[in-house]
Symmetry: C3
Subunit: 394 residues, 3 copies
Amino acid sequence: FPPCPPAKNPDFPTAQLTGFMQIDTGWFEQDDANKAVLGDIQNGADFRRARLAAVGEVWENVGYMLEMDFAAGGRPSFMDVWFEIKNDEAGNVRIGQFRQPFGMDGQTSIKDISFLERGLPFAFLPFRQIGMMYYGNSEVEDTTWAVSGFRFPTDPFGGNIGDSGGYGGAARLTRLLIDHGDDGVVHVGAGYVYIDPANDFVQYQNQPEFFVSETGGSGLVPQGVPNNVPPFVDTGAMPTEHVNLINAEFGASAGPLHTQAEVFYSMLSRLNGSSVTFNGAYAQAGYVLTGESRAYNRKAGVFGRVVPDNPFGRSGIGAWEVAARWSYIDLNDEDIQGGRLNDTTLGLNWYLNKFTKVQFNYIHAFLNSSSATYGPIVKDSDADIIAIRGQVDF
Amino acid sequence: FPPCPPAKNPDFPTAQLTGFMQIDTGWFEQDDANKAVLGDIQNGADFRRARLAAVGEVWENVGYMLEMDFAAGGRPSFMDVWFEIKNDEAGNVRIGQFRQPFGMDGQTSIKDISFLERGLPFAFLPFRQIGMMYYGNSEVEDTTWAVSGFRFPTDPFGGNIGDSGGYGGAARLTRLLIDHGDDGVVHVGAGYVYIDPANDFVQYQNQPEFFVSETGGSGLVPQGVPNNVPPFVDTGAMPTEHVNLINAEFGASAGPLHTQAEVFYSMLSRLNGSSVTFNGAYAQAGYVLTGESRAYNRKAGVFGRVVPDNPFGRSGIGAWEVAARWSYIDLNDEDIQGGRLNDTTLGLNWYLNKFTKVQFNYIHAFLNSSSATYGPIVKDSDADIIAIRGQVDF
Amino acid sequence: FPPCPPAKNPDFPTAQLTGFMQIDTGWFEQDDANKAVLGDIQNGADFRRARLAAVGEVWENVGYMLEMDFAAGGRPSFMDVWFEIKNDEAGNVRIGQFRQPFGMDGQTSIKDISFLERGLPFAFLPFRQIGMMYYGNSEVEDTTWAVSGFRFPTDPFGGNIGDSGGYGGAARLTRLLIDHGDDGVVHVGAGYVYIDPANDFVQYQNQPEFFVSETGGSGLVPQGVPNNVPPFVDTGAMPTEHVNLINAEFGASAGPLHTQAEVFYSMLSRLNGSSVTFNGAYAQAGYVLTGESRAYNRKAGVFGRVVPDNPFGRSGIGAWEVAARWSYIDLNDEDIQGGRLNDTTLGLNWYLNKFTKVQFNYIHAFLNSSSATYGPIVKDSDADIIAIRGQVDF
């Protein structure tokens, strides 16, 4: 009998099919003032994200990802579409569209966050833009660093044009102050972004950390209601020379407990010469009732996902987690009166297995709309949201 | 020599790339009355469906499908996008967008039907909507059952909103009265659907079981002709409180012969208080000249596909089948005069192998347009259609 | 110990995930006359192509491809979407949308060409249309032949309709006059296309072999500038009875040197009875500094790609190639004054490995705009373009 042949080395290129889906349903309860400002927001169900991607390596030192989202506005919209030349010692170079290195919440995979959406100050992030990034980490992986240059604003299909401006840069540095591995860490980080927009406009807006929409055409929407959850806060388009954006990150974990907080400041130099400053922050905590911990992703400098010890089925019940967040954004300064929004969110997460979870969120949104915009009759208003998400990733 | 290692268990998640394409070409011959009612329908060629999907399991008891169609109107449109928790004994729970359990023709895979399109009463089906389904079958798989709740109407991207209404439910039960396995079966089934539409409108319409369209913009269409095969019957948008829809199914096979028939009633309670009722039916038969049988899919309660014993190539000629169908829909009741359409279709199917087929259809459409809509000058009209489809699935 | 089992035959269907991405960035320098004719073209970055495809076999003699481009206008647009019945001796039959057999530049994979875009006369090609092709090659693969019929013009989603006209045919024949295999070849070829357009219009236009665009909506574009690189030459829509199009091909390689040239004539019979003729040509050469040769693809009758002997990383520097092209299109005849464009391009290509390359192009475009269109004030104008592309395919 002949011996077994050696396992064949993987040939290049490799291409793995991967993706995920998020199926959302939600209910809105607004007070009268909130309805007067924003309209009567409708309950609904929707796919928040539905992605397919090819991920792989075309050579031992060249990797790539080509990811499309079929639920986002571009239908499909370009997500992570890049290739990179890898070098553990000298650092990696990534080219294409990717998440610009800024913000712990923004760098955390949307598949792994503890709530349905990232916190309110996410509105400030450049997030995915077309450009080039140089990044790496220290040998023991307690420090990560990244710098990038990009064109701004990149459209849903990964493009941007413009002769005067249209450029930006981002940088992020993180470090573990305490490092007990899976038993617990204390993470700090900071970031900086500079943007000179191609079209000389910047606009900040955000929805209350949950939304569903009807995108199939007006014939499918009830008469006289908004077909989307409108932005609760919105600066409108601001003629802008350039933007300086900074943030600070804190994260800590200890066994089944994890916490995270960030603060953001955005300084706009406007075309008319004057400057305005906006800010935001959030703080959150989660506790896994079944005892698992939320692992720290050392290469990315963010928290990863909860993996249940006893997956649901047969005798297991999966992992169960409770979480809470306070989140804040202030878009009022001088003549810009975009509003001020506080969100408090309570979450219950059921992890059936490593790749399946169901999330329940109760969100209370305190909106302070500027009287400059809406007149004296509308100032403070409230909305309550119940939202459920089912997610699988593969 | 070491022994061979045991076959490795598949790791989770699994993701199989799958899909299919349908390439259609067709010719239309209309009498003058038909042209007067519907315009001069153009011949053409088109992709009727072109789909890519990821299908797999993220755990031993959790499966998923994420399927997009690049030829349908949303380009791409959401098709089967769901995950499910599987339990052979207690029943399976599916969450996301899927074909609501109603109708034998509707539950049969479009890759496996004997003609190019489903029969005319397909217009009544809710078909793919976003929701949750509980389903299963008896241990010997001679009975299938399914109940579901969903939001309605779901748009091409899987979403729906609305505070008053926007819900529906569906149920289907099937049973084999005679069960000789592959030698032949007799199947009966029934279904029920309730719908309270989010936008308070329901519209029924259908094309004559074949269509091609020019969707690349008006510059590519000859002047003054419709850029699509228009609906032959159409109620227009009907203000609707809720809908009750019922059907009965019959199917039987014996060796190379298979038959199938369904009847449908739709009862609309309108916003103005009055009710209208529409109905439809079809009956069809197929005979495989080369002797193969059309297997019954016991888990889904529908007929599957013809698999040739001698695939085309070398000495084989594949499998050849003849098929015929009569199909009917009546959208006239009271002040709604959507028309009445009878289709008779003759089909010749060439199965080259298990995954490749070429289909030839001759369709004669008898249209009875209401004189209330088109005046006394147009009443009965006819159209003849020759259509060819090439299909591969993988 | 039991013997190792025989390697399992691949089961059908097979489906391989494949694709590629091209990330472009470019800078434009126009003289005043060029700006007056075309506007102030903006610098930018963009994905020129981003494709995912399933490729495989559903039977030993039936193959298929289902490819979508997420960067092209249809977003996604249908690319190669076909299946084929293969027979090495009798010839292969392909059905669906594919590149019609005409032109050496057009038949060369866009992943393998020496510059960023094909030469200017590419504007004449029918390229991808929906139809049927019969093709093959001689046993020693020194001759390729192909004939096809198709519908025209096929839209981005693979469809076309029209009763009078809407058909076309194409044919290509190539032969190696000298055949030293990898050491060098001399290739000649010729092609013919006949088109009777469905909509009775034909339009020829082209950009200067590079473009970036902003396709995310007007809010992302600087005010008052074109959001795309406009066509430098453009006939406008010409009412057309039918088109006769011919070309001749020449290619030769010797070690690290490769050359290629083509000439094209397009004769339009217009609806008003008169005829117009347009023409174009290009000639190009490339030399691989690191000594590799550009292999000839014997089955397709085109040149393939440069594969580096020493891929980049560790000690290797990949392969480096210099290339130059002159390219020409004349769209002036009688009352049609679409302009005349000469492009000279210098290229530097860095092949990191078989599947990764970075390309640098300097393009000088000499535009002769017709005084009939733009008046005596604008006649000759120039634009210089620097363009960089990163590409991986998998």
